[in-house]
């Protein structure tokens, strides 16, 4: 069971974002505790990716505050987010296809020699180490990532987040492009990271997956938060009802 007595790792309070009159996110508050996985559910366009991009630094909220470990923070760019140990695995993976695994893993945070040149050998060595842990079958260190399979690319993206000791991990549909076996490996990895005390936001379409992987689920519809529920208290049908009809199940509606 997740201990929710202390300070939350992350707290998004009353976030508003509008794009030219359209309210993409309208007064949403969500929190996340250490060792917890919170699923963000909703239709396409419900605002879940937009909400989470305030935390990863890709967007800036119009109003509302972000708190990390109880302290109010100002995240303007992806670089700021990284400074707070917030790492994001994007749906598109955000890999530069023409570069190899090591260059992608260290992109923006290259290891350098004493003369200030990028140290490719050291980065490859580190990449070999971390990949040995995450995906021991990974061999294609010299190829550009465009030559890798979907699962291999995913493992590079995950390695990037894990290597830099993320405390808060945002995963945007991490299994959308994966086969069953690879999906299972991601699931195992999430369990392992949970044990290490990371907090994970998992954006997903699949209610079964959310029930299986998450502790709580936050459901959004048309930019508004429908509700946050403990996944053990609800059935998948309840979750679907929240997503489609936008109503909290009767037995929870106090």
């Amino acid at each position: 069971m997740v201990d929710r007595s202390g300070t939350p790792l992350v707290e998004l309070r009353d976030i508003h974002i509008a794009f030219g009159g359209v309210k993409a996110v309208d007064g949403v508050s969500v929190d996340l505790f250490p060792g917890e996985v919170v699923g963000l559910l909703g239709h396409n366009g419900a605002g879940k990716s937009t909400l989470i991009k305030c935390l990863s630094g890709a967007y800036r909220q119009d109003s509302g505050d972000v708190y990390v470990k109880g302290e109010k923070v100002n995240i303007q760019t992806p670089r700021d987010a990284r400074d707070y140990n917030i790492e994001t695995i994007y749906q598109t993976l955000a890999l530069a296809d023409n570069l190899d695994a090591a260059s992608n893993l260290f992109l923006g945070r290259e290891l350098t020699t004493s003369l200030g040149f990028v140290d490719d050998s050291a980065m490859e060595a580190e990449t070999r180490k971390i990949m040995g842990r995450l995906n021991p079958n990974f061999r294609k260190f010299a190829s550009p990532v465009s030559a890798l399979s979907g699962g291999q690319r995913q493992s590079v993206a995950i390695a990037r987040a894990v290597y830099f000791e993320a405390k808060i991990l945002i995963m945007d549909e991490p299994t959308a492009a994966l086969g069953p076996q690879e999906t299972q490996m991601v699931a195992e990895l999430i369990q392992e990271l949970k044990k290490d005390g990371l907090g994970i936001f998992l954006i997903d379409h699949d209610v079964h997956q959310v029930k299986r992987l998450c502790d709580r689920a936050a459901v959004m519809k048309n930019g508004e938060l429908v509700g946050i529920v403990d996944v053990d208290d609800v059935s998948t049908d309840d979750l679907l009802g929240m997503i489609i009809a936008g109503k909290t199940p009767d037995h929870l509606a106090a």
Binding site: S56, A58, T77, P78, R79, R82, T88, Y90, T92, L93, A94, L95, A96, D97, N98, L99, S103, N104, L107, G108, R109, E110, T112, G116, F117, V118, S121, A122, E124, A125, L134, N135, N137, F138, R139, P144, S146, A147, S149, G151, Q152, Q154, S155, L178, Q181, E182, M185, V186
Partner: protein, 430 residues
């Protein structure tokens, strides 16, 4: 996340090329260049590959090749620069004005040793500033680079014209002219020393790369393969130096030099030209640009941005500032090319560098720079410039009519890109 090829089969026998880890694409380009040279050599009854012609070819290529290295960065980041020829003209005008009127007006006598360096500095600053301005328009104001530099093509050509009132300015400073090519060479002894230093550096680079891989426990090539690469590099470097040294200064020029010093030329005295300073400049540019591309964060970010701009942005790279830097580098290299081009002519004229933008882009593209971004090499662009120049001057030597020369060059450009696309498809890379 399982790798499909998990069972460790015995590694397949590697071919000779794989063992040597030679870049097949580089090999293809060298092959194409060799064919061009041999065909022209046969057609001109051996006049194409004389030391004299090789020397001329080399110095004619320098200006375009210097700019092509910068164009690689521009194209890799998915931009284009159509203004380099005009920018060259503005920088050249600026430097010519510095030498003939501004600096002398500030009290430096004509022929003062400070004139050339100050003029060059002013030119480089002009080029970098114009490039940075264009980069700002592209990066921060999000105007497509095609439009910004198309505008620049008109603007900078005519800024140069305005600065000089349309006059041809010359002769340029004597020291400045040393960078033009035939007027300034290292001489035979100096060239041999340079060649030997280059061989040592090349061998050390190969060896230290190997040691670094061993230190991290990565697989390395067999020692004989490394040795073969060293021998090949050494042969190429020394061969090039030998050819340039074999081009003799005409005895008439030597006699004039001796007379100027009030001496008489000894009977049978000969002297080779050796490596021109302009070629030295190109080599320095090539080395610096290659190091930037492969060994610095700037280079890494340039290639990452070209491969996936969104990923680069999300990785915390300031892609807007990067665009400014890339265009500033391009502008500075255009100014450097202006030094070589105007020094070679020994004067500045309004039409200097006309159509150079097309030659430069063609050189980069023939050299394997993909317009889709993310791919390209410095050495490829230089080889591309060399191939273009060889075609052009070879056809002129054979006596091909002027319209046909351009038709062939245009067709070769399209063909080169087609071959490149087919090659990539076969390699299955993208």
């Amino acid at each position: 996340m399982a790798d499909a090829s998990a069972p460790s089969a015995p590694p397949p026998r590697k071919s000779l090329m794989q063992t040597l880890e030679v870049d097949t694409r580089l090999l293809g380009m060298i092959g194409a260049f060799a064919i061009v040279c041999i065909v022209f050599n046969v057609m001109t009854d051996g006049r194409f590959l004389t030391p004299r012609n090789v020397f001329n070819l080399t110095i004619q290529t320098v200006s375009v090749a210097i700019m092509a290295t910068g164009m690689v960065f521009v194209i890799v980041t998915r931009h284009i620069d159509l203004s380099v020829g005009s920018l060259l003209a503005t920088a050249s005008a600026m430097m010519a004005m510095m030498q003939t009127s501004i600096l002398p007006g500030m009290g430096l006598d004509l022929g003062d040793p400070w004139i050339a360096p100050l003029a060059i500095l002013a030119g480089l600053a002009t080029g970098a500033a114009i490039g940075a301005l264009q980069g700002y328009l592209v990066g921060y104001l999000a105007i497509p680079s095609f439009i910004v530099t198309l505008g620049g093509l008109l603007v900078w050509r005519n800024v140069g014209w305005y600065l000089t009132n349309g006059q041809t300015i010359g002769p340029l400073d004597e020291n400045f002219q040393l960078l033009g090519g035939i007027g300034g060479t290292l001489g035979t002894t100096g060239s041999w020393i340079l060649g030997l230093i280059a061989v040592v550096v090349a061998c050390m680079a190969i060896w230290s790369a190997r040691r670094s891989r061993i230190a991290h426990g990565f697989p390395v090539k067999p020692v004989w393969a490394e040795a073969a690469m060293m021998a090949l590099s050494a042969a190429a470097i020394l061969g090039f130096v030998a050819v340039l040294n074999a081009y003799q200064v005409p005895s008439r020029v030597l006699q004039r030099d001796f007379q100027a010093r009030g001496e008489t030329m000894p009977e049978g005295f000969t002297q080779g030209y050796g490596v021109p300073y302009s070629v030295l400049l190109l080599i320095a540019v090539a080395v610096v640009m290659t190091v930037v591309a492969r060994r610095t964060r700037l280079g890494r970010y340039i290639f990452a941005t070209g491969g996936n701009p969104d990923a680069a942005e999300l990785s915390g790279i300031n892609t807007r500032l990067l665009t400014v830097k890339v265009f500033a580098i391009m502008g500075m290299l255009a100014a450097l090319a202006a030094v070589v081009a105007s020094a070679r002519l020994s004067f500045h004229s309004n039409d200097i560098g006309t159509l150079d933008e097309l030659r430069v882009i063609a050189a980069a593209v023939i050299g394997g720079t993909a317009l889709a971004g993310g791919m390209g090499t410095i050495y490829g662009a230089i080889l591309g410039a060399l191939i273009m120049q060889s075609l052009q001057s070879g056809m002129a030597m054979v006596g091909v009519d002027a319209p046909f020369q351009n038709i062939v060059v245009g067709a070769v450009l399209v063909l080169a890109v087609l071959v490149d696309i087919l090659y990539r498809k076969r390699m299955g890379a993208r």
